[in-house]
Amino acid sequence: MVTINDYGQFETAWCPGCGNHSILQAVKKALTGLSIEPHEVLFISGIGQAAKAPHYLRANVFNGLHGRSLPVATGAKTSNPDLAVIVESGDGCNYGEGGNHFLAAIRRNVDITVLVHNNQVYGLTKGQASPTTSRGVITKAQPEGALSKPFNPLSVAVAMGASFAARGFSGDVNQLALLIQEAVANPGFSLVDILHPCVSFNKINTFAWYKERCQPLPPEYDPRDWEAAIKTACQWGDQIPTGIIYRSSDQPTFGQFLPFLSKGPLARQGVDRTALKEVMSSFR
């Protein structure tokens, strides 16, 4: 049996009070709940405070470049379909630097889970506006306030018909752990956008701010109803819905189009010499 201790306990470089601590807890809980062993999971992250998360548990890890975890995850999952592949990175990583990969990943529908630690700010680089920062928020880099309209990852994911799109809050670890479990279990691209306070740089969207607004979706909410979902996804303000906002698990995953993946990890498939000879002879 897998227990939470299998995932270890590490000192972190995060600030005390940071929402990342709770997200880490929820991740471990979810994996334990799913009975996934550390060597069966591969975490892929970018650069940022959020992206340090995989260093704080026992697992396979590829901590790559800022903004580039999704393509790395796509390659890794395709190379070894047996791995549970989880991307963990910030709002800057996924919606800023990595925005193009976000769009492509939804379309490609690779069976990976993406946990976006969304603190609405660039934490590691000390508090510049991120794509999810509200318009008008003042930072040292945006002394006249952030000028762009904020990015709502859920409305885009739903508009694009993502396989699974959820919103969590670091202040509700139980719900979050369940959402992560559902996301990992979902066959296809699964997004969990996780709101969390950055105590050092986000003085607006504080723990209390989120706590006051985040409301779990009611049990009767049907995440398969696209029209309801797109409206729910766009809700932001005094009430911010949390939970599974949309799912349409019936669409094909990327891996299903590559039948040879059923033969297991590519690393061990070797070269089919008969096939190679055939290929060669087509050049005669």
Binding site: P38, H39, E40, L42, I44, I47, K52, H55, R58, A59, N60, V61, F62, N63, G64, L65, R68, L70, P71, V72, A73, T74, G75, A76, K77, T78, S79, N80, D82, L83, N100, H101, L103, A104, L258, P259, F260, L261, K263, P265, L266, A267, R268, Q269, G270, V271, D272, R273, A275, L276, K277, E278, V279, M280, F283, R284
Partner: protein, 560 residues
Amino acid sequence: MNNGVLNLLIGGEAGQGLVTIGQLMAKSLVRAGYSIVVTQSYQSRIRGGHNTFAIRVSPKEIHASQEEVDLLIALNEETVELHRKHLSPGGLIIIDESLNAANDKSLRVPFNELGSSRSINIIALGIAGSLLGLDAKLVEHAVDDFFGHKHPENVQENRKALANSFKWCAAKEITGFHLPGISNPAERLMMNGNEAIALGALSAGLKFYSFYPMTPSTSIALTLAAHAQRMGVAVEQAEDEIAVINMALGASFAGALSMVGTSGGGFALMTEGVSLSAMTETPVVIVVSQRPGPATGLPTRTAQGDLEFVLHAGHGEFPRAVFSPGSVEECFHLTRAALYLSQECQGPVIILTDQFLADSYRAVPPFDVEKLASVNTECEADLTASPYERYADTGNGVSPRHIPGLTENLVVADSDEHTTDGHLTEDLTSAKKMIDKRLRKLDLIRREVIPPERWGDEKPDLLLVTWGSSKGAAIEAAGRLGAEGMNVSALHFSQVWPLVSQHFLSTLEGAGEVVCVEGNATGQLARLIRRETGFLIEKQVHRYDGLPLTAEFIIHELSS
């Protein structure tokens, strides 16, 4: 025709099907046992404009293209205008009699008498085949093979048009273009440089190839895609080149032998990924197929302008290797070598090719599939100390590599500076150790460097130095000058990094004069040689008009 060497050039608009004629002619020639060098020249458009497909053919081995044209198949009048000046003294223009290109050197063919308007290409092929003295049956087979499965309904029509054309032409009794016959030709394959790269990769066990379309690299992807399901290779078109390299690194980390292909502009977007490959010690082979820059430049032409760029691409300092195949066969073998080396040194390895070589069909002896070993990405299980450390600090800098999920060892890779277990560190002493560990791998790469190859005397009066696709032109130039009584040798680098001066410095020093011949404007290999050895190559031949180097060009430049 010179010593049985003949240059056939087909010219016309994009969309007229000249590549089809060219490929069929090339295939026929290869099957008949000739050596060929194809040079394709096309514009960045789909219809119209002016394209050419040149086949240089010879019963003996040839390795370079030629500027002078012996047989010009003109699919339009513009072709005659543009290429008349290249026609050799005895050269002939083949042209539809309805076209206006009055010239005593032209063979005016009644195309619409010989077949339908659908068969124009077949007719041109037939005429040329007949002029070259090819066996009509052999050409017919080539046509059948090509169109047979695509358009079975046209087989008869094609055969008819071909037979008509052979007959019509035979009646003209033009014998000056007959190639010397070859009896019992050995079997060869016909492929271009990009196809050879794809095949080399498949033979080495390639399992993942990602790309974003970019001329002249795209046909590597197309070749792989055509055989992907059969060979069990994931071939994925990514959203951009950044995704391309990062996908490949993800796949490689998870154990798939991985490669990507692009051209200069796409490679520019990959440079951060090159550095990531080095830092995480994740193998990847990057094929950079050069075209003239800067920026979009001349997207369908050839150049050798990106040597220094690929050599220094990526921030920070780390080892790499750069191969520069000089022939289609080298494309095959060096791709295998690159994939092997990428695994051995666990980092980025670059193959630098170009449009000329990418598109240049040649006759290649078949590869012995049984003898081609494939590359393993996993280390031996027993190489593992416990707890497993991905970046264990070893003598040669290479750490035993496990694949995540395939054993119970946890594999941790990091783009930040890290400790031996792969977790990020800010400890400056261990950071320095890791830099040293990674740089030590250069010794290993250096030990396996392919030395430059020399043709001709060890101490010639004149030494032509080249790299990459210019090989054939230099060898031929050396040969021709030799035939004129000079003592000329050629030295070709099929690996341009690292340079091991023991391999070639004495050759440079022993030559009367050294000339570096490159397809760029500033002499990049020459500069690199000076940097690494102190040897200054003052005299240089540069070609940078988008066309490949030829013996003619080199000899002309040397004499001016």
